[in-house]
Symmetry: C2
Subunit: 353 residues, 2 copies
Amino acid sequence: MPQVYAYACDDERSLFHRITIDLREPAPKEIYFEVMYAGICHSDIHTARGEWGPVAYPLVPGHELVGIVAAVGSEVTKFKVGDKVGVGCMFASCKECEYCTAGEEQFCNNPHAYFTYGVDAEGKSTTGGYSQGFTVREDFALRIPEEIPFHTAAPLLCAGITTYSPLKFWGAGPDTKVAVLGMGGLGHMAVQIASAMGAQVHVISHTRSKEKDGKRLGASYYHASGEAGTLEALRSTFDLIICTVSANDLDYGAYLDTLKPHGAFVDVGLPEAPARINLSKIILGNKILAGSNIGGIEETQEMLDFCAEHSIHPVVEMIGGEDITEAYNKVTASQVRYHYVIDTSTFNDKPAA
Amino acid sequence: MPQVYAYACDDERSLFHRITIDLREPAPKEIYFEVMYAGICHSDIHTARGEWGPVAYPLVPGHELVGIVAAVGSEVTKFKVGDKVGVGCMFASCKECEYCTAGEEQFCNNPHAYFTYGVDAEGKSTTGGYSQGFTVREDFALRIPEEIPFHTAAPLLCAGITTYSPLKFWGAGPDTKVAVLGMGGLGHMAVQIASAMGAQVHVISHTRSKEKDGKRLGASYYHASGEAGTLEALRSTFDLIICTVSANDLDYGAYLDTLKPHGAFVDVGLPEAPARINLSKIILGNKILAGSNIGGIEETQEMLDFCAEHSIHPVVEMIGGEDITEAYNKVTASQVRYHYVIDTSTFNDKPAA
């Protein structure tokens, strides 16, 4: 049974420290891989701080993890020792229900998909990616293409698929105008992916502080919503808006007005408070307000291959295990550009006193 | 210049009385028809009562009108004297912009579509369907199929297209489960149309008072939202919900929970207050909240032909001109089953003292 270092927190204060955890040997259809890099997702922070409900502490978060296969079960066919692999938000599902068979394991209803660092089929708490190892069914492991710089690959498994899936579903492509609302971990991926799909990309951010980055990553236009008249000037402009922000005070009506008839505002951020929406803004103009939540395993692999083909990868800041606590504070203060990735080799260092 | 009787109101109290109005002779590409029947739409009431903004009184409402062509302009090719025709919500648009050329005149942006009883291109107030005559461009007149009982046809021009368009757009058909929320003027049309499209139709109404009608018109299931546990039992059931109610206190989250993943809640009612919507209800499950507003001229003709083919027509209560004031009160009290139609031949009677 592999025994590895991981980083955990013990309560809602989310002060991370090194622990040792035991991982199971891979079953016949499972692989065990040494985690090299793990991304920090904003949802890790909500979870660790207890903002999304009760948590079984100690908690080892992380649902963006990549590494090298170190052992394979006797019946594994997809992977071999030495392969570069990753795991995203899910580690299991029934693979038999109508959603699983359609490649949308995230909607598994039999009984449900199992989310990385949550509970397993026996109700036992599981550990996530802030760890030096992970054991997973081979059908929930993704192949990381060589073309993607490995230390940047982890955030694709959440931020990448979360933006790729709605951009594809809602038709981003040539002859479409796509607005990306927010220029953070999700937004800077949406800009690159929408641009690679052929869309004309606009960023709408509160300020122009990230304008240079936005244009470098593929945006043709950059708008500051904090400047007077910005949204009014964009009336009836967009085919699609990908909303990556989760501000509770967003003026949905003003953004819906920037859509063309039949245009879609797709939310992938998650505000805590209910949104107040004047439905006349969607009725007049046959507009669409939709949500999107990650994507299935097959589509996640497709996204990785797409990113490899188009030289897309997240912009990351590398940190060590001892930096996680501070990184959480910086993420909530919007000070990260654009995604923290934990280098798990730092877990071998002697922890600070 | 034809001079005809019409019914008008003079202020927000909406007390209707007979007046005489002048209508223009048809221009070369226009027709003049004698209006025989005019439906009362709830939006007439909102407008007449000033609830949707300032009104130029005296107001002759009505955007559901059918009659017999009595005169045609010299260049008219589609219609001849004696034809059964109708006019719905629009009487003109540019016919040149991207939306008009795509058959969606309701989104005309050059400068805008002209709505029946509103203002014309010169800014002059126009009269609507509560009248014994109407002059209109031939390309905004619809042909009323012989198979549709003529006295029932008028409401199709608003209630019919308002429900047909989203049912078609969002894919109601065999192997889909469609919920119709509300069993009124719009709802009882949605039930018939969705059923004819091949969908399994469920009505969700506050009580069971219209259950017999709902099932007769094509619903397989009838649910009373006022009974405890109704919505919970319908969790993840529907591919599509057509919401015809405009209640300000609707629990959107509870209805969104009755959608399957990728399901759409399409609103055609228009609540006055902003809706409070917990966006997690659309993000988890990739759900859709959309709006729909009438339909284009070509699609309206398609709907009329569809209704003729499938023996669909509104259930109407016939009234005379002197009954309009009372009818408004009954509509707002939900006492109409299911649509009032004004017989304009009654306009010739001596008005009550």
